[in-house]
């Protein structure tokens, strides 16, 4: 059984096709890095797997069933837009708020819920963080709690949307390593979206690269090549490998790094790079 199957899928957002005629299969237990420029459809693809964005054409199957909202087998870590929460609530309460959260009743944890929260906090190594208010821990530490929330209910498929955004390189490496070990320990399938490929290189099995409504899924060597990326970006792309790192260049600019900077509010138009052609995040 495949974890995710797309058959001739088109996904629309606000009247515009974000993805068109995409077919792909992701096997259970795979670690897939999802890459692409802003607006390429990384978030939309995950929301489609969650059943929050319906396919305008084609079929999406998740763990053998049609994609539908409220699937308990999917753990989801949404993209964080701000650098951190200023809630004066304990990390424990923040994670516990997710357990059985769809059921009516009082928000107090049962014995089973208590054990579940302790289990996921232990898995992400955040048991100590959980005693402090969210407002007093760093963005990187808050990301661990978000990952713990995604693990509630023992999901078989983890969708992690840009968990590395706003993290410094040290924390990025920690989080990728943690995700890799969780995949090994729990046998879950992981979709991990990111702006940059390099932090994921040691962890991923295959890359899903999105661009201009199309998708390319394969090993790093198959997908991260000049011809494939030139097709996805609609521009001449060179792939430069240097000391085990990979740089995706267009007209002398590092495309992935430029996108990243762009996301942090830089509005400079870089002629020769792809920034001018990019839209908002989708």
């Amino acid at each position: 059984m495949n974890a995710i199957e797309f058959r001739d899928v088109a996904l629309g957002l606000g009247g515009r096709d974000v993805l068109a005629d995409v077919s792909l299969e992701i096997a259970t237990g795979e670690f897939v890095g999802v890459l692409g420029a802003n607006g390429a459809g990384k978030t939309t693809l995950m929301r489609a797997v969650l059943g929050l964005v319906p396919a305008s054409r084609g079929t999406i199957r998740v763990l053998g069933r049609p994609a539908a909202r409220g699937n308990p087998a999917i753990g989801y870590m949404p993209q964080v837009r701000s650098s951190g929460s200023d809630l004066r609530l304990s990390g424990w309460g923040f994670v516990a708020g997710v357990v059985d959260g769809h059921r009516l009743g009082l928000p107090f944890a049962s014995k089973g819920a208590h054990a579940e929260v302790d289990r996921v906090l232990d898995l992400v190594g955040a048991s100590d963080l959980a005693r402090r208010p969210l407002a007093e821990i760093s963005g990187g530490e808050q990301q661990r709690l978000l990952l713990a929330q995604a693990l509630i209910g023992r999901p078989q498929l983890l969708l992690l949307d840009e968990p590395l955004v706003n993290l410094d390189p040290h924390y990025q490496g920690d989080l990728v390593g943690l995700t890799k070990s969780l995949r090994a320990k729990l046998g879950v399938t992981v979709l991990f979206s990111a702006h940059e490929l390099n932090p994921l290189l040691g962890a991923l099995d295959r890359v899903l690269y999105l661009g201009r409504g199309q998708a390319a899924l394969g090993t790093v060597d198959d997908v991260i090549t000049g011809p494939v990326l030139s097709r996805l970006y609609g521009a001449e792309i060179d792939v430069v490998r240097l000391k085990g790192r990979i740089f995706v260049m267009s007209g002398g600019h590092d495309v992935e790094r430029d996108t990243h900077r762009h996301d942090h509010g830089s509005r400079h138009q870089r002629t020769g790079s792809l920034l001018g052609a990019q839209h908002g995040d989708a």
Partner: protein
């Protein structure tokens, strides 16, 4: 002071309203929607004065209009969140309309002052019973929806993915807030609902980081502030609303002191 009927009524009304406000206010602060509480109170002024004009008890005018406005705000959701200009204009219009309605009734000044700043010492037994029933309805509904409401407040995107309707809980919660606001107006008036709905909840969240302890403390502080305020008003003859706002602000400021509000 408890030998007087009006004092008994005042303490009973204040207890009911303080507990409702403390519990509802905790979620209001957690969700970052305190401004919505303020807005609903202003809309309530139009409702209360309109009710006086057509000869109905003001609290029913308050309830009808605040709940309608709360449901409307919840249904509009995100689209309303960024419209602070539109909200500001509606708030001003609400107070303006209330002023016009009061212009047409004779008991102008006392009614206006009571609605704007509250007059808990004038609460009668009938009103206490009304407050009790409204309080049971609002806290009862809150108890039933509190777990999905908390989920939707803490982690909206994940909640949506797990099948929780953000819109539904937004509407239900603002309807509950509207009832709490209508109750609060009886004690501290339209302009001062923050004193009971936001002050104790914000102080509680600085003092404790658990949900259960936060809710308990928020209601407890609201009760303490309301009762102490009324007792001080009895002995000083200063307005009870002044004392309640002073206590609310004082306790919140105390919790922000570096050595106190560490929430360990």
């Amino acid at each position: 002071m408890l030998e007087y009927d009006f004092m008994q009524n005042a303490f009973a009304a204040a207890a009911i309203v303080a507990i409702v406000s403390g519990l509802v206010g905790y979620f209001l602060v957690l969700r970052g929607q305190t401004f919505a509480g303020h807005a609903l109170a202003h809309v309530g002024f139009t409702g209360a004065t309109g009710a006086v004009l057509i000869g109905v008890t003001p609290i029913w005018g308050l309830v009808v209009l605040t709940v309608t406005a709360g449901v409307g705000m919840g249904a509009m959701g995100e689209r309303l969140a960024r419209r602070d200009v539109a909200i500001g204009i509606v708030l001003a219009l609400s107070l303006g309309l209330g002023l016009l309605f009061l212009h047409f009734v004779t008991a102008y000044a006392t009614q206006a002052t009571a609605l704007l700043f509250g007059n808990v010492l004038a609460v009668d037994v009938g009103t206490v019973w009304t407050l009790l029933w409204l309080g049971v309805v609002s806290t009862g509904t809150l108890a039933v929806i509190s777990r999905p409401l908390l989920f939707a407040s803490l982690q909206p995107e994940l909640a949506e993915a797990k099948g929780v309707s953000l819109r539904l809980y937004s509407v239900l919660f603002l309807a509950i807030v509207a009832l709490a606001v209508a109750e609060c107006v009886q004690i501290v008036g339209v302009l001062l609902v923050f004193a009971l709905m936001v002050g104790p909840a914000a102080a509680a969240q600085r003092l404790t980081i658990g949900i259960g302890s936060g809710l308990f403390l928020s209601a407890g502080l609201a009760l303490l502030e309301a009762w102490t305020g009324i007792a001080l008003a009895f002995y000083t003859d200063w307005p009870s609303s002044f004392w309640i706002t002073a206590l609310s602000a004082g306790i919140y400021l105390f919790t922000t002191l570096p050595t106190v509000g560490r929430a360990r």
